[in-house]
């Protein structure tokens, strides 16, 4: 059967993708950030997952105001990178896993989570930057990717609790798939940041570090944190962190932390990163 063997959390700041695309990763500004992912690149190469369920949010790219799904799953065969205003990122197209994605859709909807099915969409930096951080710049992505898009742009996003519970339903769905597949789940976005208004630039290192710790050791309690705490403490865009709880919900209550990294700043944002082993 298919198994979720690990979880990854990482920020998905667009400027990180631009730094890679423009060959700036060894600049003084970016070097410390990419150093924090050296372990991750070696680890992912040795793990070589068949499928990554990649939890991310679209930023007025594939979904504008025409359509605002709270949770959407990409069941299509292929997803191209979005032109976000500067032309599409020079990264490979993402290949989906329609068999597992459709299976997940049927399983979780019967488990009371009403996902929207998307077959045709482009994927923006929210999805491609985590792939670039983990895999570098290959000709083709080495894994299949099932996009799970969460609305965090139009308030309210789903609650942390709802995300955490959906993670549990995703796990049940994966484990009821007959084929032997090595599946990882990634939660992306965050950490503290605010991109708008006179309070733009807010970073709360204390909040972020506590969030990293509790996500590993005390996720069930962390999931009950209300939206207002994210907004007030981690900035209006810090609310993306609910997507990390979706990832965490799909893992065992107890996990082995393999890697932790935290860095300020990347553009307007605090960058956090965790790798959690789920095989015990």
């Amino acid at each position: 059967m298919a198994r979720i063997t690990a979880g990854v959390a990482t920020s998905h700041v667009p400027a990180i993708g631009a730094a890679m695309d423009l060959g700036k990763t060894q600049d003084d500004y970016w070097k410390p950030l990419f150093k924090g992912y050296e372990f991750s690149r070696e680890w992912i190469e040795s793990e070589n997952p068949d499928v990554v369920i990649l939890v991310y949010n679209d930023h007025a790219s594939a979904f504008g105001m025409d359509l605002v799904p709270t949770f959407a799953i990409g069941c299509g065969e292929e997803f191209a990178p979005t032109d976000e205003g500067w032309g599409p990122r020079p990264v490979p197209n993402v290949h989906g896993h329609p068999e597992l994605a459709w299976h997940i859709m049927q399983s979780v909807i019967q488990d009371d989570f009403d996902l929207t099915v998307v077959n045709e969409m482009t994927v923006d930096h929210g999805l491609t930057v985590p792939l670039s951080l983990m895999y570098g710049q290959p000709e083709a992505w080495p894994c299949r990717v099932i996009p799970v898009a969460v609305n965090v742009v139009v308030y309210p996003p789903p609650s942390g609790q709802r995300c955490y519970n959906l993670g549990k339903a995703l796990r049940r769905a994966v484990e009821s798939f007959d084929e032997d597949l090595n599946v990882q789940i990634w939660g992306t976005g965050g950490m503290s940041h605010q991109l708008q208004g006179p309070r733009a630039g807010l970073i709360n290192q204390e909040f972020d570090k506590e969030f990293l710790e509790r996500l590993v050791t005390d996720p069930a309690a962390l999931a009950t944190m209300p939206h207002i705490d994210y907004v007030r403490e981690a900035g209006s865009e810090g609310i993306e962190l609910v997507m990390w709880l979706l990832m965490r919900g799909a893992l065992n209550d107890k996990v082995t932390e393999l890697h932790r990294f935290y860095h300020v700043p990347a553009s307007n944002t605090a960058v956090g990163h965790l790798i959690l082993d789920n095989t015990d």
Binding site: P14, A15, H59, A60, S61, G64, M65, D83, E84, G85, W86, V153, V154, Y155, P156, S192, Q194, L195, Q196, G197, P198, R199, A200, G201, L202, I203, N204, Q205, F207, H227, I228, V231, R232, E233, S236, V264, P265, S267, N268, A270
Partner: protein, 129 residues
């Protein structure tokens, strides 16, 4: 009974909730149109004429012409949508965010390098916590 909106007392912040999303619908749809290069060209050639094709309020149109991002957000614009405008202008997210704070680009960048804006004194309107 009114909806609970505990976020209205967060300083310097407009939450893009249902009310703002409704109010800003046409403004944000205009922004989305700038993802197509043909539309970007038409907008650049005659901003006023292009804006007049959209069912936006005069206030919203003026805020766009003035590149008054805080004004646009107060009228229902969302920053991810508004980013299509500043991308069309060739301005980065960092520069755009700096412009919303009243800081110079250099001061803002240095603040971020120094660890960002502290939450201290920025949690509640009129509060020093």
């Amino acid at each position: 009974m009114a909806l609970d909106k505990p976020y209205v007392d967060v300083p310097g912040t407009i939450i893009f909730d249902a009310e703002m999303a409704r109010q800003g619908y046409h403004l944000n749809q205009f922004c989305m149109s700038l993802m197509k290069s043909d539309n970007r060209e038409r907008f650049k050639n005659d901003e006023r004429a292009y804006l007049d094709e959209w069912r936006m309020s005069e206030e919203q149109k003026q805020a766009v012409l003035d590149r008054d991002y805080n004004g646009m957000m107060a009228l229902g614009g969302n920053v991810y949508f508004l980013s299509k405008i500043f991308s069309s202008d060739g301005i980065s997210f960092e520069q755009a965010a700096a412009s919303m704070t009243g800081q110079t680009r250099e001061d803002y960048r240095q603040m971020m390098l120094d660890g960002g804006r502290s939450p201290q004194g920025n949690r509640y309107k009129g509060d020093s916590n």
